[in-house]
């Protein structure tokens, strides 16, 4: 636990250092700096829900994009059909997705519902939980994503009407996107506090490090997993809610987050909040600067190549580097 906290401390130091650099950049070249901020926010928001579910439960959720879809649709529909104000609509989007995630966890990931039915009828469990079964969870959630995309198409049609972007623009840069950057920082702070400063966070980290011991110490690990999945889903839904005014509302909209999300999670490494922030801070500027200098194609390729190189030369992801750095510094002191 001490190790975890000290690791987080160094990670946060790194984040603060990079943010400080950005502030200097904002004074020097405001427009470009806003674009870099936004690229970072996009990657972090795309990845955060996936990172929590993957990092804590060992479940690769290929339906992550469709969880974002649920959040975006719930937000848009509650604003356009029910007349809810946009901020409230966004909360609705996050809550609906969290509830949806809860159902998915109970029915598929943990197998609680099918196993309960199995116990009642044939007297045994029917399925095994998907925790830490990376490939199997991938196939299951791929199936789920096919069902969700086509289901959304059948229920809501090929598109739904989109809500407009709130606010105007400052110095040629949209205010809403600047707001998104701030919200991203807020989301990261809340998630960080949740996992480090609350009882729930302690239980989660205990479960993550050693499930057996945690159970022996009286932690209800199944409940922990359930809540973790719901929180991860809720964050994915919140991402969908935030981007709802910016994206074309079609059943396939989730796919545009998937690549950034996976790359950021894996490049980030083991630690959820710090790793995701750092990989966002590394990949976002690469994307924005290459797009700016050489066009969008170069930006896209640079992002992907940088991710491959990072995975190759930073085993254990960026968090691994932070770990080693810490070991060296504490070993020296």
């Amino acid at each position: 636990m001490k190790q975890a906290l000290s690791q987080a401390r160094y990670g946060i130091a790194a984040v603060v250092a990079v943010v400080a650099l950005f502030v200097i950049g904002a004074l020097a070249a405001p427009n470009l700096t806003f674009r870099v901020y936004y690229a970072v926010s996009f990657i972090v928001l795309a990845a955060i829900g996936l990172a929590i579910i993957f990092g804590i439960m060992g479940v690769i959720n290929l339906a992550h994009g469709e969880f974002i879809l649920v959040g975006a649709y719930a937000t848009t529909l509650s604003v356009t059909k029910l007349g809810v104000p946009l901020p409230a609509g966004m909360l609705v989007g996050a809550l609906v997705t969290a509830l949806f995630g809860l159902v998915v966890e109970r029915v598929i990931i943990s197998g609680y519902v099918p196993n309960w039915i199995g116990q009642q009828t044939v007297g045994r469990d029917l399925i095994k939980p998907f925790y830490d079964r990376l490939a199997d969870s991938m196939v299951a959630t791929f199936g789920l994503s096919l069902i969700m995309v086509q289901g959304a198409r059948i229920v809501f049609g090929n598109s739904i009407n989109q809500i407009g972007v709130p606010f105007g623009s400052t110095a040629g840069y949209p205010d809403y996107r600047i707001a998104l950057v701030g919200i991203t920082a807020g989301v990261l702070a809340v998630v960080y506090l949740l996992f480090t400063r609350t009882d729930f966070g302690t239980r989660v980290r205990a479960t993550m490090q050693d499930e057996q011991t945690a159970m022996a110490l009286g932690i209800n690990t199944e409940r922990t997993y359930m809540l973790t999945f719901a929180i991860g889903s809720g964050l994915a839904g919140f991402t969908g809610a935030l981007f709802a005014p910016l994206l074309s509302m079609q059943p396939t909209l989730g796919s545009q987050f998937l690549v950034e999300a996976f790359v950021a999670v894996v490049v980030g490494g083991a630690s959820v909040v710090v790793g995701t922030s750092l990989s966002g801070l590394m990949l976002g500027p690469i994307d924005a600067l290459f797009s700016d200098e050489f066009g969008e194609f170069a930006g896209r390729i640079a992002l992907l190549v940088a991710a491959m190189l990072a995975l190759r030369f930073l085993p254990g992801g960026i968090t691994g580097v932070v770990d080693r750095l810490r070991d060296r510094m504490e070993g020296g002191s």
């Binding site: 399925i127 196939v139 096919l146 993550m208 690549v259 790359v263 894996v266 959820v272 190759r312």
Partner: protein, 379 residues
């Protein structure tokens, strides 16, 4: 004395084909396989030309390549479609530039080679760099996206190799028809060349020669891989899959074994791509899309990834269902089938059937092993 102790040719062959790493080591299995092959040979005579079924057989090769790499060497790769696509594009480029039967035959080998070489380079980059587990998966996934983004924008005439335009998003046009052989000796056109065959009772039926080509290639590759995984090399692969560090402790060159398996897998995926492009007379970057990249993982998981037979059967079955279901609910049904099959039979369908048939006899390949857990993590 000597004659008596030498096993018969059949027994020797069976010894090479059988072992704990494959399902189906009984006489009953070989009889069943022979029956299936006979049924497949007869199939076009009664069930149309077989031209659609040849697609499933070609994709079966792609499934086999992933089964070797993932099911035996334990390397979960999303990149099989990269080697598949590169094989297909190489075949297209070479055959357009040399559109003679000998040139097209050479293009087939060039495609396989290209798949293998790219796999070897990527494999060297990863395995000798100490990249493992989910990191390998994501690097291969990212490499498919690099290919997709790159190939989609190659529409301009600057992306022309010899007389072959890569064609960008619209795909590579005008790939010559697959005609194998050497001019003056023997040549045969395999696609768009239905043969009329007189069958008693049924009359004249049309059969597609490409179907038989793909069936023969698939069968040969399946049997070849059985020999491979039952060799010592195959045992090393399985040892790596089960515990990489322990295998290294025993003195095996883990990186080299994984690289060899990955390269063979790349060559097989390339072969599958060559046949795919030849069959459709077309190849486009959609083979690098995430959706298509996920399909091999789905086939192999559903069929049972530790079983070559499972990979082939599930590829054919899943693709058949995917292409023949129509209507609004088709994708929902496909998704539900995947979900339910992986929920209920996580080891795959074929190992489950094998288990039922052999009545609980414990087979090494069936032993459940948990995935390597991710390293201890901190939020």
């Amino acid at each position: 004395m000597v004659a008596a102790s030498t096993p018969s040719a059949i027994t020797r062959l069976r010894n090479r084909l059988e072992g704990p790493n494959t399902i189906g080591n009984s006489r009953r299995f070989w009889t069943a396989l022979a029956l299936v092959v006979v049924a497949l040979i007869a199939f076009p005579v009664v069930g149309g030309t077989g031209s659609q079924f040849s697609l499933f057989l070609v994709l079966g090769l792609l499934g086999l390549s992933l089964s070797l790499v993932w099911g035996y060497a334990g390397v979960l790769s999303f990149g099989q479609v990269v080697f598949f696509g590169i094989g297909a594009y190489t075949f297209g480029v070479v055959s357009i530039n040399v559109p003679t039967p000998a040139g097209i035959t050479g293009a087939v080998f060039a495609g396989v080679l290209a798949g293998a070489v790219v796999a070897a380079l990527l494999g060297y980059f990863m395995f000798y760099g100490g990249v493992r587990d989910v990191y390998v998966t994501i690097i291969t996934l990212v490499s498919t996206l690099v290919m997709l983004t790159f190939m989609a924008q190659t529409a301009g005439s600057e992306w022309t190799i010899g007389s072959a335009a890569l064609g960008g998003f619209n795909g590579m046009p005008a790939i010559p028809l697959l005609t194998l052989g050497i001019e003056g000796v023997f040549t045969f056109q395999f696609v768009f060349n239905d043969l009329e065959l007189f069958v008693p009772v049924l009359g004249v039926v049309n059969i597609d020669p490409f179907y038989y080509l793909s069936l023969a290639v698939l069968l040969a590759v399946y049997l070849g891989l059985r020999v491979l995984v039952n060799m010592d090399f195959g045992r090393v692969l399985v040892a790596i899959r089960e515990d990489e560090d322990r295998t290294r402790m025993f003195g095996y060159d883990v990186e080299r074994a994984k690289l060899v398996a990955f390269t063979i897998g790349g060559g097989l995926a390339g072969l599958s791509g060559v046949l795919y492009a030849a069959r459709n007379v077309y190849i486009d970057p959609s083979v690098f899309q995430l959706y298509f990249a996920t399909l091999p993982v789905v086939w192999v998981s559903v069929g049972g990834r530790k079983s070559l037979l499972g990979a082939v059967s599930a590829t054919v079955a899943v693709e058949y269902v995917r292409l023949s279901l129509g209507g609004e609910l088709a994708l929902v049904v496909v998704g539900a089938l995947l979900l339910v099959s992986i929920l209920v039979l996580p080891g795959g369908i074929i190992p489950w059937i094998d288990d039922k048939l052999s009545d609980g006899r414990l087979d090494v390949s069936d032993v459940e092993s948990p995935e390597t857990p991710p390293e201890a993590t901190e939020p």
